[in-house]
């Protein structure tokens, strides 16, 4: 059992890192710990628990800006902005249930450190695109700030982008500032039944290339479709979401349905079912229960039109579905100890993109790469970037790659 340090403020975090530096200790940075099992197994001496740094410190809805301490529960922030008719438009997914945990437990710091997003990624961007400012402690034990509270800002390097998706390996965040956006008045979905993966890819390209402003495009193959919410289907479903003001949604769902009719039978989901469907797509629901909960899980990002090519290259016993117009593929592999890394990484390398083994037993994560392996030039650059923030390897060392 490793000791846990639980700072109360940014100064405590600075002290903790300085202590670790002087004592040659490595720290595991955690918020609520919902994504603790993602990455290479921890090789740390102490846990730095940031869940005590809580509270929204600034929220000005008309300025579209919110600041909070990094350990603030994401659910608290989402509830607050919802009360003001707003949302975090990057639609952060909830990893908790994929690891058998409860829903809605993550922190805002965790959401940013892992650059979360959801189906709306294709329209609104990921956490990185909404992350305006940060205060954080580097592995040198120094508090730095970057960005600000305004959206339009090119003053100095955009460290927020680098920190988003760095999984706590560069800095321990203490305070963050985010862009909030108006929440859509309503939404609806258009669903085509019975397409195979290749045909679905074409339908998604057609919808995304229309002026219907689609904010979700997913293909749920027949073997998993029934495990999503909001639909009553036995076969494959290719789903499209439109969100916005009521008259606009009414218009766009009809336009989209007419556009997609040549691909197959089309149905429309009302607001309530649409919300349920996209929540379950966001959280990869088919892989959160039953036998599928034990399957190694891949998250793959490729060019949207090429995503479907991967299906024919992997075990037919794999379960999978597509989000982001075909560009994001969730793949649950059949053998608990055998994630099929060789095959998947080879297929993704040929297409251009990246694959992360988000869920696997610790032994598997210790034995092979979890994050996408980098070619030698990029690996060396990543190492230099890591060293520029954390030269002694105090912060989450080895979590993303060995030596980083």
């Amino acid at each position: 059992m490793t000791d846990t340090l639980k700072p109360r403020d940014g100064k405590d975090v600075e002290d903790a890192v300085r202590f670790a530096l002087s004592d040659g200790k490595a720290l595991e940075i955690v918020g609520a710990g919902t994504k603790r099992a993602i990455g290479r197994p921890s090789q740390t001496d102490l846990t730095l628990d940031l869940s005590g740094l809580t509270g929204v410190t600034l929220y000005e809805p008309e300025e579209l800006v919110l600041s909070a301490r990094a350990g603030t529960p994401l659910a608290e922030i989402e509830a607050l902005v919802e009360k003001n008719g707003q949302e975090l438009a990057f639609e952060p997914m909830d990893y908790g249930p994929l690891f058998g945990g409860k829903a809605g437990a993550g922190t805002i710091g965790g959401a940013l450190a892992s650059n979360l997003s959801g189906p709306r990624r294709i329209k609104a961007g990921a956490a990185r695109d909404h992350f305006l400012g940060v205060s954080a402690v580097t592995g040198r034990g120094e508090t730095i700030k970057s960005g600000g509270r305004v959206v339009k800002n090119v003053t100095g390097y955009d460290l927020c982008k680098l920190i988003a998706g760095s999984w706590g390996t560069l800095v321990a965040m203490t305070d963050v500032t985010l862009k909030t956006l108006p929440r859509a008045e309503t939404e609806a979905s258009v669903v085509i039944a019975g397409l195979d993966d290749a045909k679905a890819s074409q339908a998604m390209a057609a919808a995304m290339g229309s002026s219907c402003d689609v904010s979700g495009a997913a293909h749920l193959p027949g073997h998993v479709a029934a495990r999503f919410d909001g639909m009553n289907t036995r076969g494959a479903a290719t789903c499209f979401r439109v969100e916005g003001f009521a008259p606009s949604v009414a218009h766009r769902k009809e336009t989209l349905a007419a556009l997609l009719k040549p691909f197959g039978p089309v149905a429309i989901l009302d607001e309530q079912n649409s919300r349920a469907l996209w929540r379950s797509v966001r959280d990869a629901k088919p892989f959160t229960s039953g036998e599928a909960l034990n399957r190694p899980l891949w998250r793959v990002s490729v060019a949207p039109t090429r995503g479907h090519e991967i299906a024919s290259q992997i075990s037919p016993a794999a379960q999978m579905f597509y989000d982001w117009g075909g560009g994001l593929i969730w793949i649950a592999m059949p053998g608990e100890q055998e994630p099929g890394a060789g095959t998947i990484r080879k297929a993704v390398a040929a297409m251009g993109g990246h694959a992360t083994l988000v869920r696997a037993p610790a032994a598997v994560r210790a034995a092979g790469d979890v994050f996408p392996p980098q070619d030698s030039g990029l690996a060396a650059l990543n190492k230099r970037v890591k060293d520029s923030f954390d030269p002694k390897g105090v912060l989450n060392p080895g979590r993303m790659w060995a030596g980083i």
């Binding site: 846990t4 340090l5 639980k6 700072p7 109360r8 002290d15 202590f19 002087s22 628990d49 000005e60 008309e62 008719g85 997003s117 294709i122 990921a126 990185r128 580097t138 120094e142 730095i144 970057s146 600000g148 509270r149 305004v150 959206v151 339009k152 090119v154 003053t155 100095g156 955009d158 460290l159 982008k161 680098l162 988003a164 760095s166 956006l181 929440r183 229309s210 002026s211 402003d213 916005g244 003001f245 008259p247 606009s248 218009h251 766009r252 336009t255 990002s301 490729v302 060019a303 949207p304 982001w324 560009g327 251009g352 990246h354 992360t356 980098q374 990543n382 970037v385 520029s388 002694k392």
Partner: protein, 497 residues
């Protein structure tokens, strides 16, 4: 000029002939320019108050040549200043007397247009507008639209993280690029991103975007294409005070509406513009707002009514909704001509670029007027109201002794004011040399040192575009040292579990 550049490297200058010869071996023919007269067009960028002839200009055509040039300069310890179209308003491409000016203008091909994946792969010397033009036939466009879009290049847009009038809704460059090929100062060629979304590891593309040519030289960019909105309509609203206009902007956003564009002008800007283009702007108002809604017809018609109602509720004295496309373009004609219009009423003008929290606008305008009196210089304000990006245009005459210096002091005071009210030094023009010495107003020494450490990860000898962005240059070895203070105490203050 008042900005101090890095001390001249006389050893490098002494080897100028050998360096020119070596560059000619890499880029044969017309690609190396070493004559004073021929180099003259490169002596400044859009910030024309700053001028400096480079040691030599090189215009490569291939990534392999860029790689060889940089590897050579790295080995020889020669400074390099990358340049796109040279439209920077912050002196980002200002040459160094002892440096190679690396012009990327010959990288002007569009390599791939992929409508199914909604991306284009272009070389960095392609102009911003050329990308949109190349995909317009299929109803697509590239969203960031800086006002220099006819001339500025995608490579420069990546370097500066350029914005435009539509960024509130569609984002800046950083939200619209998916990948790049880049050459490091060592000559190493790396690829970041591609046609897929997000980075699998560190988001280096996010750092390179807006790095002002200090981290590497981009040789290819993959940009996102968007489908053109079905339609667009604009509302022109005049207010008796800037407070009312500011309130209106807040209420529109508070009502859940994110307009495609939302621009404000103050009285001096309105008058300058109206005299120039006769857009039919009301002259008896203190502030003018243009709100543009774009999207499906049904949505635009619905929202325009809501915006009209909000505007009337904010004491607007004039509200005009565009009825035709011609009328919409006329509303914009004035705003788009704002800079040249101000240029007509003054021998010279100096364009500032701070961003502020929108609610602070009336305060900032009031204090700017006070500063205007203090310095005895007129100022007109143009404002990207949706995202708080303020462009005060200071009117001056460079031929009057001391007036440029006064203008720069006035500008610096405005930017300090932006930071004081919670804003930033630059919203879209970049730091460059222009705002370099103001960086400590916004950042501590620790912040700036950390940013420079990140630069060291890309450029260990500090050869890429030195003298820009950072007011004080440190050696990488010096920055790498760790000073552990505090140390051994197991901080009993921290609760342990």
């Amino acid at each position: 000029m008042s900005v101090q550049m890095p001390a001249l490297d006389r050893a490098v200058l002494g080897r100028r002939e050998q360096i020119v010869a070596a560059l000619r071996r890499i880029v044969p023919g017309e690609g190396v320019i070493a004559g004073e007269r021929e180099m003259r067009p490169f002596e400044s960028d859009g910030l024309t108050a700053y001028k400096q002839l480079p040691m030599v200009v090189v215009l490569p055509e291939t990534t392999a040549q860029v790689s060889q040039i940089l590897a050579y300069c790295h080995a020889e310890g020669i400074r390099v200043v990358p340049r796109g179209a040279g439209t920077s308003l912050s002196g980002g491409a200002l040459p160094l007397a002892d440096g190679v000016l690396l012009g990327m203008a010959k990288f002007n091909r569009i390599k791939d247009i992929d409508f199914d994946n909604r991306v284009a792969v272009v070389e960095p010397g392609v102009t911003n507008l050329a990308v949109s033009n190349a995909v317009a036939h299929a109803g697509f466009y590239y969203a960031p639209d800086p006002s220099s879009q006819i001339a500025c290049t995608i490579g420069g847009n990546v370097a500066e993280n350029s914005g435009g009038v539509h960024c509130l809704k569609y984002g800046m460059t950083t939200n619209n690029v998916l990948g790049c090929e880049m050459v490091l100062i060592t000559g190493e060629i790396i690829r970041l991103g591609g046609k897929h979304l997000d980075a699998g590891g560190y988001d280096l593309l996010g750092i390179v975007t807006g790095s002002e040519g200090l981290l590497g030289v981009v040789t290819e960019v993959t940009v996102r294409l968007l489908k053109k909105p079905e339609t667009a309509r604009a509302v022109l609203v005049g207010f008796p005070s800037s407070e009312d206009a500011g309130e209106c902007v807040g209420k529109i956003i508070g009502d859940g509406i994110i307009p495609g564009g939302m621009e404000m002008m103050d009285k001096p800007a309105i008058h300058a513009v109206e005299e120039f283009v006769h857009a039919g702007y009301p002259l008896d108002v203190e502030a003018l707002l243009i709100v543009e809604l774009d999207g499906p017809q049904a949505e635009v018609d619905h929202l325009i009514e809501r915006v009209e109602k909000i505007a009337r509720g904010c004491r607007a004295s004039v509200v005009r909704v565009s009825k035709t496309e011609e009328e919409r373009l006329l509303f914009w004609a004035g705003r788009k001509a704002a800079f040249p219009a101000v240029g007509r009423i003054s021998p010279d003008y100096y364009c500032m670029d701070g961003t502020i929290p929108r609610a602070k606008l009336p305060l900032v305008l009031k204090r700017t007027r006070e500063l205007s009196e203090k310095y005895g210089l007129r100022v007109a304000n143009v404002f990207h109201a949706g995202d708080g990006n303020l462009h005060p245009l200071i009117l001056y005459d460079a031929n009057k002794p001391g007036e440029l210096e006064r203008t720069e002091q006035f500008g610096a005071d405005i930017l300090r004011l932006c930071v004081e009210v919670g804003g930033v030094l630059t919203g879209e023009h970049g730091v460059g040399v222009e705002k370099r010495d103001l960086m400590p107003v916004m950042f501590s020494e620790i912040d700036l040192d950390q940013q420079q450490r990140l630069k060291c990860a890309f450029d260990d000898k500090g050869l890429l575009n030195p003298g820009k962005v950072f007011p004080k240059l440190h050696r990488c070895a010096e920055l790498g040292r760790i000073h552990i203070s505090g140390g051994k105490l197991p901080f009993p203050d921290i609760p342990r579990f």
